[in-house]
Point group: C2
Chain length 807, copies 2
């Protein structure tokens, strides 16, 4: 186990004492005691939460080794002094590390250092101040199981006596972070209906949006809390079957597109003037909701903070169960509706207790500060809301978020599916999330006809036939409004996320460079996952530090303490490295030229190489059913089925490890023997290596509070067996979109053109001895249409190069 | 979805009214109302738990269709009568079924019938009594999501107002089953130390056993509750790494054993006379525990019942963290210690508040009735405890339990690993569960030396070299004491469980035939899993009916209502069939003779066929690393690597489906070219078929109460693609143990002997057109030692037959 904590604050002795007092570890009794051993025993007495009397406490002391031959009870009886070695031998046991497996009993410090656990070390016997400093440090140190020692005590009930503190003493911060002094059994759950400024179903009424709120009961007694708002179209359920039925066939041919001369100005989205119905007439006001809810679809990160003085707010938005309107999959109406919920939380908009009675209810319990949380579509809506510059939104924590929907369903003039979902498109996702379907009367009697028409229109507008960037997509490109962002932005993305691809976050990161807000990014080795329950990084602590600052105004230095860029290593488990930047557009690039079979920095080649795109029927069908086999056989040299369907170029083995930091681009001169064509590119890390398993390994249950919800602690582990290669990144282009994704050029068969294709940005360490590989091919069974067409592509190597931003 | 409910009781109208009153659905207001529509509306008002006022309730009514063109609000406004069709169209929506996906709005009854959901049907308009009867039936009917409608309401908070009822009104039973009227936020958690009647670590003191208790707070106010006791050696954590280090090498040769003439009497275990130290001297008494605990390792079935008026009691037993003694892996001392906990719960034994102060504490909150729960080792200890006939133990619910440890680690004179754990043995499991290791001072300073010696002795006594049934194993055979069982026995086992194999439960089932207790068995298609969160069967309801009867004495007819045998179909998902018996030893057997390549009922063959046992090094290493590849290639005809390593015999295709019910035996005449040898047999179902995925598919979160713990609802689903075969069952024999597992015979090389080998019992339906196959081979990479020895086996087909108990 290797500990990586970025959110632990260093405290001076005065702060240590004050904060230990605040959480009742240091009390009046202890003030009078000067003997370090006695203080130590008193601290342990408070930490051993399961023992109610001294007899039982003494019994438990006998479980712990103070020295290799003395248990903790006998040690205390012996009146020996506290030393560094004794303290950390006990500390390792308190932190749940295991003898032999994790540490040797005669050398606790070696283990502390090896596992990157912080220590205070002296050669002398400890005095009281050192002991208190070390205890404070221990409380803020991670145990073996992914949470701080104080969180571990929290889960055992340490803060239960704090539940009844007067609200003036809440929230409670320790080491700059909010603590769990709120009773989960007494959370208030209520539903309100926010009146939005859209009428997406054109029924002559502003769409009402169902909002579910969970807040600490202390708000009933005067406490005002910030809100963690998760806008999730999935939140009220999804129409899984209807979505499946709507999936598009991807086994269709690529076709020649009619050339056009469109400029961006011609396709740019211009704000539509929807006539907005008048607001409802308020018939009364109340502080009490008329509707509640049972188990919500929660995000465990919100759950963690619910007992720490934050409200959790969920809203599924237009078109979803119990709300009005229709799903639009990312259009400005959806952004407006999302923003409207924040306005209500910030006191600037109305909500009602139900959908008919027009009794207004305000967010009187909220301090007006909002952070948005959530992954994928949820993070996407957070990004969308941020680009409105809405008041009250102090920060977004956007995980694996889309910043432009074109890049989610299209690329370079091609239909490109999110990895794992061939055939999905904007209309499919709209149908899947139109959860008003789950209320048959509401759906069938009131919205079905309108929605069906809307989906027909969407299917037209998204223009699956061309794959071009059209006005439909421009309306769903949040990046145009990055400069309007006023809130701080925390971005989290998986470097192996082929659902929402890394380019989505990289474009946001680049766009924010000159925007005067704080921005931080964490890049992990996962696919499309959450990382809030990882053992090797204190993700939740970082968020705690961040939102305690952003939403409660705690002066904890969060913006300075948290690194700008944290990247998880792809070779060594449990290794997270900080950097000042990622994907700097001005960084130098190493240019590799292409020669038959090789990538080379020195020479280029005059050779023209070609490959076909079709496969025998058997292979074709096998690949459509088992995309993993296609993925493997495309790169592998063992199977010969795809030998003539792609070109492979490999560099010489690297003498020392190299890091690719940012966007690799390929310049290629190519021809198709048809009046249409597409090219796909994969960058490969060749080299026998035990690599990370694609999904993290579950370790154990992780509690989010005392008698509260739970998550599963996880970590990336190395696969049992080595693999010969790994795909680093990929890119695609329709050859008729060689200038840009909206303009269609003519493609003359067998005539060569040059193209520049950026691959998805990455951060990847190539180990010494490994080779960099490039694969050029056409049909991507995981992402493109699969027409199995007899197209032949030729590549003129004399004008090809791969530009790699090595760090 | 297909609903299978075995625990739903049919109630007459008088009972319906009385029970609806008891749970406050039928109240005084309703008594005065005669209009069925009004009653219906009042019932719905109580069921719509999220709406606090009438406006919101009316809003929600608009989500439901009463007829294809009328929502429920408009329907009520229209004053139309209640009809069967209206009631069940609404019912389907209340039960969370989906339009189109699950039912058509113009034919709700077709869907009710197809999904096996019970109905009350008349052609007339309903009167009040019918409505109440139908509402009662609806409450007891399963929703789409694996729980009754009443459980769904429970999770939404229906019973929260019941938490404060006086204890004389608790527990509350509805339809014969205990309801969740106990507040999960107020559970009492306490630890006691039961003084056992063993001194397994020979330290001159009776072993104290740590016991964790969770009980409803109502017990503090006079309620006495039964206990669900789970004895789990894993409960205080396991020593995963130490266990891994202790694993035995299975890549060792099979060796010739020295013949013996042992009789069973010579190896039979005789109760050892351990000198038992005097009990501790009690220094005081208390009703209040001195120790508590935080999140326990719970079994979700117990969690479900904790809010329904049962205590949950966990104890890990001798050798585990915070207890005394050493782990013995199933010996009589462990059984005695397990029994001792029940004696304490039953008021017949002492416990203390901690390990040193000798202050006694009784189970004053317990009504003296105990059921044991849990799977695998947990169910094993339940079985062990049952064979003591201890007072107070009313029933055991033993899931995937071991009834004889020899059959877990050995078979027919061979070391046979539990599937998935080659190299594991009794000592490995003892080391893994000696969780005193987790308290380094307790372990290293007080027990390590003794335990290490004990493990050396165990490694000797279990006799891995011979694989014989020895006194060590006879001491761990609970089946010798089946006739002492006084409690009722519910058995649950997976027909695909190759960890704890089906023979374990079948032997218990057979042994109980003449024991005057009630016994029931459920056989599912899973491997080594729990089935308490399955969608298609009301497992938890069955347990509720059972323990409400057994532990609270509720006269609900549980013993008559629950079928004796329930078997999950292996071909059609969500299909559970009841039978009166399983594996009847007197049933007829169909005899198949062996001819080259075929199993035939008609003729036999004079042919002698032979096969080798060794493989080329590459294949051998591949199989040891990828056992799944060996499993597949042994049966498959595609790969040729094992062609000479086994014989395959196939029947003609069956004209109609056939069920194998019980134990298939093989009689074989065979020779080895060495003075030692082993034979393995697999019975195969050959036939292209979409079969069940080996593990159930997760469906969604399932709540176990309101704001309480959760489980994951699951179901077996068909694989995406068909497979050509499936292994039904297998068996193994050391040829030197041709008489029995304790007596070793001489094996003369190349001399033929006859053997009878019972395969693991099963219940398997062969579809029409499928073929029954038999594979004869030697080394089983998943289970036997793997010496890769050049042994050649010959089979004389003239004296071979396979006896199959077709139903």
């Amino acid at each position: 186990m290797k500990n990586n904590q970025f959110a632990r604050l260093t405290a001076d002795h005065e702060t240590v004492v004050a904060e230990l007092k605040a959480i009742h570890f240091y009390d009046d009794q202890m003030t009078c005691v000067t003997s370090p051993t006695e203080v130590y025993q008193l601290l342990l007495r408070k930490a051993f939460l399961t023992t109610k009397d001294n007899g039982s406490f003494t019994n438990k002391l006998k479980n712990y080794l103070a020295t290799p031959s003395l248990d903790l009870k006998d040690y205390f009886d012996s009146k020996q002094p506290v030393t560094t070695k004794i303290f950390y031998l006990v500390a390792l046991q308190l932190l749940e590390f295991l003898v032999t497996e994790d540490f040797a009993i005669d050398n606790p410090l070696e283990a502390m250092h090896r596992m990157q656990l912080p220590t205070i070390e002296t050669n002398d016997n400890w005095h009281k101040d050192q002991l208190l400093d070390a205890w404070y440090l221990l409380l803020t140190t991670h145990t073996k199981n992914g949470q701080t020692f104080l969180d571990r005590l929290t889960n055992q009930g340490y803060f239960i006596p704090f539940y009844d503190l007067p609200v003036r003493e809440k929230p409670l911060f320790f080491n700059g972070k909010a603590q769990a002094v709120f009773d989960p059994a007494k959370l208030v759950r209520e539903v309100v209906y926010v009146e939005s400024s859209v009428d997406s179903d054109c029924d002559g009424q502003r769409d009402l949006l169902k909002v579910e709120i969970l807040r600490p009961s202390d708000t009933e007694h005067g406490l005002r809390v910030p809100a963690l708002f998760t806008a999730s179209p999935y939140n009220q359920g999804i129409n899984h079957e209807a979505g499946s039925r709507a999936m598009h066939d991807v086994n269709v041919p690529l076709q020649a597109k009619k050339p056009n001369r469109l400029t961006y100005q011609e396709i740019a989205y211009r704000k539509e003037k929807h006539s907005l119905p008048a607001p409802r007439v308020v018939t009364g006001e109340t502080r009490h909701a008329a509707e509640t809810f049972s188990r919500e679809h929660s995000y465990t990160l919100n759950d963690y903070f619910l007992v720490r003085g934050f409200a959790a707010v969920y809203s599924a938005g237009i078109g979803t169960l119990d709300s009005d309107g229709v799903q639009t999959c990312g259009d400005p109406q959806q952004t407006e509706a999302t923003k409207n919920v924040i306005e209500w939380l910030n006191g600037k908009r109305r909500a009602f207790t139900n959908r008919t009675d027009n009794i207004a209810i305000s967010a009187w319990w909220c301090n007006g500060s909002v952070a948005m949380t959530g992954r994928s579509y949820l993070g996407t809506l957070a990004t969308a809301a941020a680009t409105t510059g809405v008041d009250g939104l102090k920060t977004i924590i956007s995980e694996a978020a889309i910043s432009s929907w074109y890049d989610y369903y299209r690329e370079g003039g091609l239909v490109i599916a999110p990895g794992g979902f061939p055939g999905e498109d904007a209309d499919v996702l709209a149908i899947e999330t139109q959860s008003r379907m789950k209320a048959p009367a509401d759906y069938i009697l009131r919205i079905k006809d309108f929605f069906t028409k809307q989906m027909d229109q969407m299917a037209q507008a998204m223009d699956r036939e061309s794959g071009n960037y059209t006005t439909f997509w421009d309306a769903r490109n949040y990046r145009k409004d990055i400069t309007k962002i006023k809130c701080d932005v925390l971005m989290i993305h998986g470097l192996n996320d082929w659902n929402v691809k890394p380019g989505q976050v990289e474009a946001l990161w680049q766009g924010l460079r000159n925007v005067p807000v704080s921005k931080k990014i964490i890049l992990h080795q996962g696919q499309h996952i959450y990382i809030n329950a990882f053992r090797s990084i204190d993700y939740t602590d970082m968020i705690n530090l961040w939102i305690s600052h952003e939403l409660y105004g705690v002066q904890n230095g969060a913006k300075e303490v948290l690194p700008n860029v944290i990247v998880q290593d792809n070779l060594v488990p449990e290794t997270w490295t900080t950097y000042s930047d990622w994907s700097n557009p001005n960084s130098d690039k190493t240019v590799f030229h292409l020669a038959p079979g090789t990538l080379t920095e020195e020479c280029s080649s005059d050779s023209i190489q070609s490959f076909k795109d079709d496969s025998p029927k058997d292979d074709f069908e096998r690949y459509t059913e088992h995309i993993d086999q296609w993925e493997n056989e495309l790169i592998s040299n063992q199977k010969q089925a795809l030998r003539a369907n792609r070109l492979i170029f490999k560099s010489a083995p690297f003498e020392k490890a190299q890091i690719i930091d940012g966007k690799v681009t390929i310049h290629v001169k190519a021809a198709s023997n048809q009046p249409f064509g597409m090219l796909s590119f994969q960058l490969i890390d060749f080299g026998e290596e035990k690599r990370f398993n694609p999904s993290p390994t579950p370790i154990q249950r992780m509690e989010l509070g005392c008698n509260w919800r739970e998550d599963t602690l996880r970590e990336f582990t190395l696969a049992k067996f080595p693999t010969p290669f790994k795909m680093i990144t990929k890119g695609h282009l329709n050859l008729q979109n060689r200038e840009n994704p909206w303009k269609v050029n003519e493609l003359m068969p067998n005539q060569f053109f040059t193209f520049d294709v950026p691959l998805q940005p990455t951060f990847h360490k190539l180990a010494a001895g490994h080779q960099l590989g490039l694969i050029i091919y056409a049909t991507d069974f995981a992402m493109t249409v699969r027409g199995n067409q007899a197209v032949r592509y030729s590549i003129d190597l004399s004008d090809c190069h791969l530009d790699v931003p090595f760090q």
